[in-house]
Assembly symmetry: D4
């Protein structure tokens, strides 16, 4: 597995990452990791690799777009001295274009999204062992849905930047779309955004599958 | 307008009808009408037709399927001595097939749905001036979506029974699908089920349009 | 209808405008528009004119007189870059003269009221497409009631200033007095000030009737 | 003063009597007398006549009409073995005709009001030293107001029954109307029904003035 | 009566004065006068003298000694521009000597008490029509009780300063001791300090008796 | 020490015994022993005699007089199969005669007190190793105080019955009166009834001094 | 994997199983599965085997011993018509012997434990595809600890009964003891009983390893 | 006894000292001493030595290590002008090495622990009559437990520094280990750290035994 003893992984993101963690950059003490995919990853790493002392920090905040995350990236992410950084951001950049279409200042357009994300990736690469880029997504299997189609543009920006900067790219849009082949989206998330525990387990499994993780280790 | 002085309209249904009303059969006193389409209809009738004293009662309860609504139909609806009855039920009958697919006893299949609904319509016709049947819906414009497709089966049952029994049929599925031509579903309801105030205004307008209501009366 | 695509309307006022909106200048996201006439107007515009993307902001704060509203008018109203401004203020200026007659610093006399209101109208006209002036009111049909009589003086100031500055004047005092021909004031508001949902629907209908709004659009 | 040592006075009524007392028939222990006129009467009797041990019980319940009060009169009033009974009821009998005009079962018409009240007076006279009948009221000085005019009919029923049965009649309608010669009704009660502490002091003074009470005793 | 139209009386003190009022210097709006003797005085003045518009402000704060009251006297009392000032302070100065005898910095000794009180009286006399000095007290009829005896020293300081400065002196210690001739102290206050509503009515009556107040005015 | 291995002591009483314990007959698990003298006794027995497994149960309920305690004595005390029973009751029997003098049914007169207490002692003696009778008290050092004097009558009844039935009599009245030689009563209890932690420690020490308890065991 | 399409697994137990689930027999809807090992198992089954519709029910209740679980076994477990039953019980049977040693009726001795558990196993085998017996445990690696030693007796009873009745036996005591070779017990559970999310992941992995589960399925 | 009249003892520490006290440096008024060993010591001193007026202050804060306590030592401890200082710190310095092994900045290693503690002892000796050093502990009787073994290193540092500086050393580790000879650790503290009331009584007795305290004084 790619994570070595004492490695520190910081997960940056929005409410999907946050998932009820207590504060901005939360530690795995007293339930501060939230109850989303970050918690699942921490639990599985600790359960399956007890001989390694891997540290996980949750740096997600609900409602954030790339604009807010960028503004706090140094304080909440890089100041934690991470060995690995995971970035999962963009859902709110797109969502606000559809649920409050009249409020333009809440929305982040593709050019700004790309600029913000690239700035964060560059910061994250600096002095770390690796960067994960988790795509935004909409748990909507129909590619003709307008918000899904818009989200796909942002997913492509993610993919492009991840490749350009040598990051691990994780396509959560595809992950969820594939799962919708078996179950309806309402099984995972009533609002098609915030996954329940099954969805969190799915994201964690996808993430860990890219890290050489062995469940039966 | 079809409603005459002192007419009493009782709205039966699930959480879409309930929308936070205090109890089972709620009266328009002390905010007991909830904040959904029932409240909108009451407000518009009272604002535009002050010379008529029309009474509105909310008999919706969150989470109910046709099974639960039928069980309480005499107590909560018919005992209110309505002049008009509106029935909007079936969303949960379908939803449970998709969000908790393993729990079969929570789901209501089409045959039972038809039987339950017809029994309620027959009760509702007895001694009243008219019955409204509001279709269940899923605010999903894609007809290929599995839950939308399943919902369409129930909408058709509604339409068929309404015609058979001479009820006013209101196709909320079509109403919302049409609106999605302008705005994304997330603008009306994050979970594609519970409409916000805009959605409630839409349902109220559709309902009133079938009653000879004149906004500028 | 006079509102065009992407127009932004800001409603300034006191608790009648505020009606439970979360903060000072609230947006139509996450129920921040309150539950009064502003919400009704937003819902009806969005329901009936989905092809236009009209933005509504609630800038009411409970308890405010013209003195407090003027002090925050730049921050809460004009900084929102409105295309249209609606001002409904003065109830508390008068009410405090009757419910706490001994506390003079809580009351706003006619001259100051006129000065404050005119200053706000002048700010509001600057760079916008139009200004609405909604009169204060007391849901009291008896013109001999002392508080009603006093309120009438303020209504006249409103009317005069609206005409002088070419604003749309909406006489809420008359609207409610007319309605009291059909129902007792306690039907609309126990305290004869804060309208329930029926009263909010009345105000919204009156407002929209001056905007070329068509309910059956 | 007419109250002798160890006399027990029970006050029956609605929310005006209740005024936040803890339960149905409340005792002057642990703040169970509410904070309305009953509390004022108890405090003044105890402060000015410490040598007499007069017991006061609050038997008011919010929202009650004569119909509900009659139903519990034996349990809550007569079972307390009162020496004196005070009855103040009827506001809700009338109010419901105006604030929820469509809900007929919430309203009590004059004939039923008279019958209910007389039945209570007859019970109250049985074995006691005296009965007080406090009229219902609406703090509205305009006799042409429809709810005020309707209330006046009920006040007259009160007066007539009090005289017929030799009760002390206290005309609260006149008391408040007179006070409105000095201050606007909103000074006493925003809803013109529930008096604030000033109104409670007024009612207590009127009551005590009929009992030979001397403030400087 | 000594209070003229528009007179403003400010009551300074500790928890006995405060009695649950909302803030530091509270006005008679929205229940901000607390529920102690200040409220009783306001209610009786307004009920009995409606033709005069007398303003009452509660400037009591729970737990304060003369030290804290002096520190805020300009801000909370004199800045209110009172016509009359009432000062009732000293209970906590003494009480802390008995309930937390080891914490010397919580206690105020007689010399400091005298100095603090005199400084407040001098401020209060400046530009006002009169000053009331209400003595501290302990509802303990036994003069040999150590805390009662200590309190008596402070009462005498009060009396001496009131006479020296021409203030109205009101001896609450004597008032309560006399009342204990009729009822046990636990009838008025379980802790022998905070009077219930009967005790508040007693203090109000004593205060008003020194002002030419006529209950039957 | 008189308590042997596995002995079970049940403490019956009112709020002084109860002191916040969760239910009627509480066990020393999960903080169910309250925070009064019962908890102190349990903690000291367990800390000083760990080799004995002594069980303590709190059977106090706030507000109870002998009348209520007798009614539940079998259910709450004897059904616990105690080896030792401690009874501390009577404070409320007396207190109600002074704080609510007009409510006679809340008070328990000496004859009934004696009858109730004796009945409980007889039950308690049946099959147990011993019975403790803790006197009621009023933390008032002045024997001329009327409530103290009345309490002394009840203390004497306690003493007499304890002697008659061979119970251990513990004179809490004397204990607190002696302590008041050093500190004022307000140091122990603001209401002279409910002791703080110091008072609880005092009662516990007095109780244990009668049991052969050695703190340095 | 041994679980087939539509299989229903019911998990019976105490607080370790319960882990905050809403009611007695909880379903995987609206977060009713708690947040312990049952939730982990459900999430992993659903994430990794979406093609199978496996139903999981949580029938744990905090604080229960075998005595309470047996009393509700028919109602909460068997009436759910399970295909598989998992039983994890006994921790409280032992714990009460150590944290409340004096309260014998809270404790369950080995003979009764064995009898209760066997009765449940026999019920569980009836008509199901299989029964899992999860041992009780104490996350204490020192076998000389008295509570650990006592727990080991119960673990052996479990093992013996599981073998006798052909159940799958899962030795949680050994699982946790092994993990303590890597991390201190306080890392998993401050009280050595209630596992955190890492501990829940450990139990889930152990359970699934006995079911032919493949994480990379 | 070593404490003289008016002596002031300040107890510095972490959650074991704090035990729910209201603020940082709490006084024995209004339950501010918490409910741990500090409260027990205060209660016993006041109950047994009423003739001396000894003051106790709780300066514990939950979660603190020596690092945080040192940072606030001047403000919270020395500024209180203590005659005696008690320091009980170090549990969290060690615990964090085991419950969050990956978060190194939360842990305090032996060298820093020694430096911090010595700095506090030197401050505490300055101008006081004496300093108590209470060792950290883990209520774990097995010396081979890794956290217990680590704690023992810190206990030894305590002992060494106490001797070097002439402080009273109190070995809480030995106290609890001895008690575990009679009862299991779960009887005193489920997490083996925070003692219940029995544990608090044990600590208080040990502390007082070093002060010449006589329970039967």
């Amino acid at each position: 597995m790619i994570f070595e003893n004492n490695d520190h992984i910081v997960f940056a993101g929005d409410s999907v990452t946050d998932a009820g963690s207590a504060g901005e950059a939360s530690v795995p003490m007293f339930d501060n990791l939230g109850h989303g995919y970050v918690r699942h990853i921490d639990s599985l790493l600790a359960a399956c690799y007890p001989e390694r002392c891997i540290r996980v920090t949750n740096a997600g905040i609900s409602g954030h777009t790339t604009r807010e995350l960028l503004a706090r990236f140094d304080r909440d992410v890089m100041s934690q001295k991470p060995d690995w950084v995971s970035i999962c951001i963009g859902i709110n950049d797109v969502w606000r274009q559809f649920d409050v279409p009249a409020i333009h200042e809440y929305q982040v357009m593709p050019e700004e999204y790309e600029k913000n994300l690239e700035e964060m990736i560059e910061k994250a690469k600096n002095g770390t062992k690796g960067v994960f880029v988790l795509s935004p997504y909409y748990i909507e299997p129909n590619p003709a849905d307008r918000m899904r189609a818009r989200m796909d543009e942002y997913v492509e920006i993610c993919r492009r930047l991840a490749e350009k900067h040598g990051c691990v790219f994780i396509d959560l849009q595809k992950l969820f779309a594939d799962y919708c082949g078996y179950r309806h989206s309402s099984y995972l998330a009533w609002d098609r955004i915030h996954p329940n525990q099954v969805g969190a387990a799915l994201v964690a499994r996808e993430f860990l599958s890219r890290c050489g993780f062995d469940y039966n280790h």
